[in-house]
Each structure stands twice: as structure tokens, then as C-alpha cells.
């Protein structure tokens, strides 16, 4: 009826993204939760496992698992808030009336991705240093971190939208998100193990392909289904 006045997807999603970043910067609720959780787990892992208590052949596997456990549980701790806080604070209705649903999802996804990258930038160097975790294939390792984070952020953001109106949000989020996140986690862990031992990118290309496929499928499904989830 007056479609010309609707903003483009990127203009509106940028507004949502910047609003979420500003809100997060001023309250720092999610950032603090994620970073404190990550730091606590890092310290525990450092004390319990340490750099020297594992045999050299076990280190790549155990360290890969531990690294992704830290990232995974950090994501589970903070990423659900992106939609939950809109419902809890009573701002969701204003957002529903004002923004096209895909713009809301894209803006929230970018905000969660930024948060996850901040946590990763904090966790990974500390983890590598504390555990003396040597990476032979840094290109593969960075690719896995980026793609793994995109997958985690996509799945967590969409799941957060689903559970935002539920009464038992925390339980619902875990029940829905964990099965959804297992495939990329397994791929990321196995790929990281390869990156720790092989300098050749081609050795871990299958895991990169797996994560690209997963990210594509989950993100596409999220955009296709979000309208029904958000407006019901």
C-alpha cells in the first residue's frame, strides 16, 4: 500500500545491529556473562589439564575438544538474550510494528556474531598460550573458527527467537539448540584437530565444506521460517 517507504533490508538490519551493539555496550550484560564464563572455563581447563599432562599424540584431540567446549558453552550462555531481552523488556512489539522481520533477524544475527567473535578473540589466544596448543595450519584454523562461529550464531539466534516467548526459556533454548549445534561442533572439533597437526589446508577441506554447507542451510532456513516465528 505504501511499499516505497519501507527501508531496504540492509538499512533496517544495520539499524537493528547498531542499536543492539549500543545497548550491549551500555549494559554489557551478555559480554560480561560470556567473557566471565569463558575465563572461568579457561582457568579450570588450565589447572585440570594443563599443557604437559597429556601425551603428545592426545593433545590435538583433547585440546580441540576443550577449545570448542569453551566457545560452545559461551555461546549458550549469552546468545539467547538477543531476543529474550526484547520480550522481557516489552520492546518486541514496537520492533514488530516497525521493522521488516528479515531485517530484525539479520541485525540480531550480526550482533550475536560480533559478540561471538569478541569472545573468540579473547578465548583463542589465551587458550593457545595456556595449553601450549600448537597450530600447524593457521589458515584452516581461522577458517574453522569463522565458519564455526557463523554456524553457532545462526543456530543460536534463530533458536533464541523461537524460545523468547516461552516460560522456561533457558531449558527450551538448551533442548532446541544442542541437537542443532552438534553437527557443526563435531566438524569444527575434527577440523581443528587436523589444523593442529597438518599444515596443508587441503587436509581439512572436508570439514570446511561441512561447515559452509551447515551455515548455508541453517541461515537459509532461519530466514525462511523467521517471519512465522517472530510474528506469532
Amino acid at each position: 500500500m505504501r511499499p516505497a517507504e519501507r527501508p531496504g533490508l540492509f538499512v533496517a538490519s544495520k539499524a537493528v545491529f547498531l542499536k543492539d551493539l549500543t545497548s550491549e555496550w551500555r549494559t554489557r550484560v551478555s559480554t560480561n556473562a560470556l567473557l566471565l564464563f569463558a575465563f572461568a572455563v579457561l582457568v579450570l581447563v588450565g589447572y585440570a589439564v594443563g599443557p604437559a599432562s597429556l601425551s603428545p599424540e592426545d593433545r590435538p584431540t583433547v585440546h580441540s575438544v576443550l577449545l570448542w567446549i569453551v566457545i560452545f558453552f559461551s555461546a549458550m550462555t549469552g546468545l539467547a538474550r538477543v531476543f529474550v531481552k526484547e520480550e522481557d523488556a516489552g520492546t518486541a512489539a514496537a520492533l514488530r510494528l516497525s521493522a521488516p522481520p528479515p531485517a530484525v533477524l539479520l541485525g540480531k544475527l550480526l550482533a550475536n556474531l560480533t559478540l561471538l567473535f569478541v569472545v573468540t578473540a579473547f578465548v583463542v589466544p589465551l587458550f593457545l598460550a595456556m595449553m601450549s596448543f600448537r597450530i600447524e595450519g593457521p589458515t584452516l584454523f581461522v577458517l574453522l573458527l569463522v565458519l564455526g562461529n557463523v554456524g553457532l550464531a545462526s543456530a543460536c539466534t534463530f533458536t533464541a527467537a523461537i524460545v523468547a516467548k516461552a516460560s522456561a526459556k533457558g531449558t527450551m533454548f538448551a533442548v532446541l539448540a544442542v541437537p542443532l549445534l552438534l553437527p557443526p561442533l563435531i566438524g569444527a572439533v575434527m577440523g581443528t584437530r587436523v589444523a593442529a597437526t597438518e599444515a596443508d589446508l587441503a587436509q581439512g577441506l572436508d570439514f570446511v565444506k561441512l561447515l559452509v554447507a551447515y551455515d548455508g542451510v541453517v541461515t537459509t532456513a532461519a530466514f525462511l521460517l523467521f517471519d512465522a516465528v517472530w510474528r506469532e
Partner: protein, 204 residues
């Protein structure tokens, strides 16, 4: 633009809250929805605004003979309600600028201050304060600015005068007066002053 509801009901579980109702509000008209606490005024307004799906029946926004469901024409709707909140950690101006960007409207320098002044607040005085630091009445005025920032042809005001002083009530009157020139308005309230702004009334 016309607001049309046909055989409208809204239930939660087996409990019918609203309807069945037939409503028609034409351009330049103001409809009051009155009723005791718990009578379903807010549910009716949220259903008419497309924030709740009707259990039966339909709600349409009609322009030039074309019917559109409210949820597909959210650009056309302004809404104020007690359960509406703006972003508490942002200032009033930041909230208004955020929402006007979402509506795809340009915000020239000073635009937000003008909108804030239009609802009787001093933009300079509240500029440094996030919404959560404002009084309830000040927040209500910012909500009125939010609801009208995109000049919607359909405006829903649910308890618009709650927490407002006499000057604030005058702002509500001005908002409704301006809305008559722009489109139509639905006011849900128990306040005699709010109800007196309307041309017609339904009581739930």
C-alpha cells in the same frame, strides 16, 4: 484509510476475551473502546493492530478498495500501550531515531528534538538521560512521540493518558486532533477525558 473488523473474536484457550464484534472506523474518525478492567480492551486493540491474530473473523485496513491485514501493513500503524516499552538504555532521541530509520524515513538534524518538544518535553533537559531514567509520565510522552513518528494513518492509543498530568493530557488531545487530519484513531481507556475525544464508542 478505513479500519474494518468482521465477526472478530479473540480467545485464549477456551476463554473468549473479545467478540464477536463488527467494527468500522472511517478516515477522520475516532473510536473509543470502553470497558472495565479485564473486559478485553487491550486484547481488542492488539488484535486490531495486528499484534495478535484473531481467533475468528478478520481485521482489514482498507484503502482505495484494497484490503490489507494489519500485520502486512505495519507501516500504517501507530501504537501506544501500557505494556509497550522503548529501549531503556537509549535516550529518547536515540529511540526515536532508531525507529524512524526502521520506517525508512529521513531524520534531518534536529528532527528528534522537534518530536520530543512536540510532546511537551525539553529535549536539552532529557538529552543525556536514558529512557529508564525518565519519569513514568515522561516515558509516556516519549511513547506518544514514538507512535506518531512515521505519521501513521491508523493510530491505536491504549490508556494514552495514564501517568500524565494536565499538560500531558493536552498532548494526548493534540495527538488525537492531528490524527483526525491524517487518518483514524482508536482510543481504549476508562478515562472520561480520553473517551470524550471520540466520535463513537463501543463498550466491552
Amino acid at each position: 484509510m478505513q479500519l474494518l473488523a468482521e465477526n472478530l473474536t479473540r480467545s485464549f484457550g477456551n476463554r473468549r476475551i473479545v467478540g464477536p464484534l463488527d467494527i468500522s472506523v472511517g478516515p477522520g474518525r475516532v473510536l473509543a473502546v470502553a470497558g472495565q478492567n479485564g473486559s478485553g480492551k487491550t486484547t481488542l486493540v492488539r488484535t486490531l493492530a495486528g499484534l495478535l491474530r484473531p481467533s475468528t473473523g478478520h481485521v482489514w485496513l482498507v484503502r482505495d478498495g484494497v484490503r490489507t491485514a494489519p500485520r502486512d501493513a505495519s507501516w500504517a500503524i501507530g501504537w501506544v500501550a501500557p505494556d509497550l516499552s522503548l529501549y531503556g538504555e537509549l535516550t529518547a532521541a536515540e529511540n526515536l531515531l532508531f525507529f524512524v530509520r526502521l520506517h525508512g524515513r529521513p531524520a534531518l538534524p534536529g528532527w528528534a528534538d522537534e518530536r520530543i518538544a512536540a510532546v511537551g518535553l525539553d529535549p536539552k533537559r532529557i538529552a543525556a538521560h536514558p529512557i529508564r531514567a525518565l519519569s513514568t509520565g515522561q516515558r509516556q510522552r516519549v511513547k506518544l512521540a514514538f507512535a506518531t513518528l512515521h505519521e501513521p494513518p491508523v493510530l491505536f492509543l491504549d490508556e494514552p493518558s495514564s501517568n500524565l498530568d494536565d499538560a500531558g493530557r493536552a498532548v494526548v488531545e493534540a495527538v488525537v486532533r492531528d490524527q483526525r487530519a491524517r487518518g483514524l484513531c482508536v482510543v481504549a481507556s476508562n478515562d472520561p477525558g480520553d473517551l470524550a475525544l471520540a466520535d463513537e464508542r463501543i463498550t466491552l
